[in-house]
Subunit: 253 residues, 2 copies
DNA sequence: CAGTGGTCTAGACCACTAC
DNA sequence: TAGTGGTCTAGACCACTGC
């Protein structure tokens, strides 16, 4: 009765480790600095390497660390804010667009895309692959689906391949009046092709932003953009975003 | 020369396993169904349990599975779309608000919050804790920071504690004209208190939505909301969101 | 109580990077 | 070639759920 033992829950080691490392990162390391390797760190903390890795994985997920095979673990810079929802809507490819076209094909859409486009599974769509750069690093890869019926002029003349074709496609889109758009954000893991584009390993956590563009009473285009979750903070709305990390810890100064 | 050996890269086992399981989930299982336990599954696929778990973790991250200690692994329902960016901005607590207050304290703000509020580190803020329910399950936990200077009337009269105090606080806020708001979304991991609120383990992946509310030429309130990343799809914009998962796999029917 | 997922260990080997 | 992080194994024990 009345033992002083509160909190009988033993905190998992990797959780405690993460806390310790977080504090160390805040106080003793600066951005870009390389940490000791995993074997040394594990030994220093007296845990198995797998346990240490569990803590490192979480810190990487939170954007505090960056790990690269063959190189080492470094302290990551703060996440960059990337604007994904502007106040005034605009077609992809409009002036000021941050995206850069990579290539372009025409094929039958995946079932899920066909559903969102409310188009038949048989109607081919143009698929434009684009990437988005910020501060010299690529932060997102996008697949832009445009049904042939959205750009009827283009399919008739069979435009040239490559970048010229992309330009023609987007120019055709912009001739319509954009009636609205909406977006959704969810967590996903990078497919092999996206991972390559983003310089990450397959399965890396990404924020998937799906945007529908409405024109002429239907969905005229669909964009599926995958952003690096470790380095990006997606901003919506009036101004440039907020500088907050989820770090409501109070430090007794 | 010209060996047929393409793709000399050996695909990691857990990655292949994930693919196989994904296909099985699509074709052979229905929502809510329970999978065999991890030890059986690992044996069936001829891998160590840790390897199997790596695949399951990714599937849970993608919202395909739900795992609960002591119970088992079940097939998750599709993610629910939750609206976080309405076209017409509104104060927290406005009519139609999906949030429910839990409690309320007054304290010095964490340093990061003080920065975003552009208030002194010394000025106390009201901290309202709220939760958001959808379809009978809680999907988000929020901390709402309101500087005392944003609700001067309230601090003067020293309102009653509990829910009544929260109502008084939000009522005071709504007397100001909301001049704008902006939001940012980033990936995080659940703190212990949030995890408890969300019925998840600490460290579970969450989408952190940080919203600033502007009034009278400054930031009048700050909301930090953590959404369950496994079950939620955050929607912004005109209509109710998109029904797309990142699943551009084409099935040869 | 039996059965589940969660944590942890002490190894091993592989893929990649840089010198 | 040496050193890094990434994958994988075969165990063990713990915390939690439901009967």
């Amino acid at each position: 009765m009345g033992t002083t033992q509160l909190e009988s829950v033993p905190e998992p080691k990797y959780w405690h480790l993460k806390t310790v490392l977080t504090e160390a990162l805040d106080s003793e390391f600066s951005v870009g600095e390389i940490l000791p390797n995993e074997r040394d760190l594990a030994a220093r903390f007296g845990v198995a390497r797998a346990t240490l890795r569990q803590a490192l994985e979480q810190l990487e997920l939170e954007g505090r660390l960056q790990r690269r095979r063959g190189v080492g673990t470094t302290v990551a810079p703060p996440r960059v804010g990337v604007a994904v929802g502007t106040e005034q809507h605009a077609w992809p490819g409009a002036p000021g667009d941050a995206w850069q076209a990579v290539d372009c094909t025409t094929a039958a859409p995946p079932a899920a895309v066909a559903g969102a486009l409310e188009t038949g599974r048989d109607e081919p769509v143009h698929i434009v692959r684009r990437t988005r750069m910020t501060h010299g690093q690529s932060v997102a890869a996008e697949l832009l689906y445009i049904p042939e019926s959205s750009v009827p002029e283009l399919s008739a003349i069979d435009a040239p391949a490559g970048p010229a074709r992309v330009r023609a496609l987007l120019r055709e889109l912009q001739r319509m009046e954009l009636e609205g758009q909406d977006s959704a954000v969810e967590l996903g893991s990078a497919r092999a092709d996206d991972a390559k584009e983003l310089d990450r390993l397959p399965g890396a956590p990404v924020l998937v932003v799906t945007t529908r563009y409405f024109a002429e009473g239907r969905t005229a285009a669909l964009s599926v953009a995958t952003y690096r979750a470790d380095t990006c903070r997606l901003t919506f709305g009036d101004s440039g975003g907020v500088e907050i990390h989820q770090d409501p810890q109070r430090r007794a100064s």
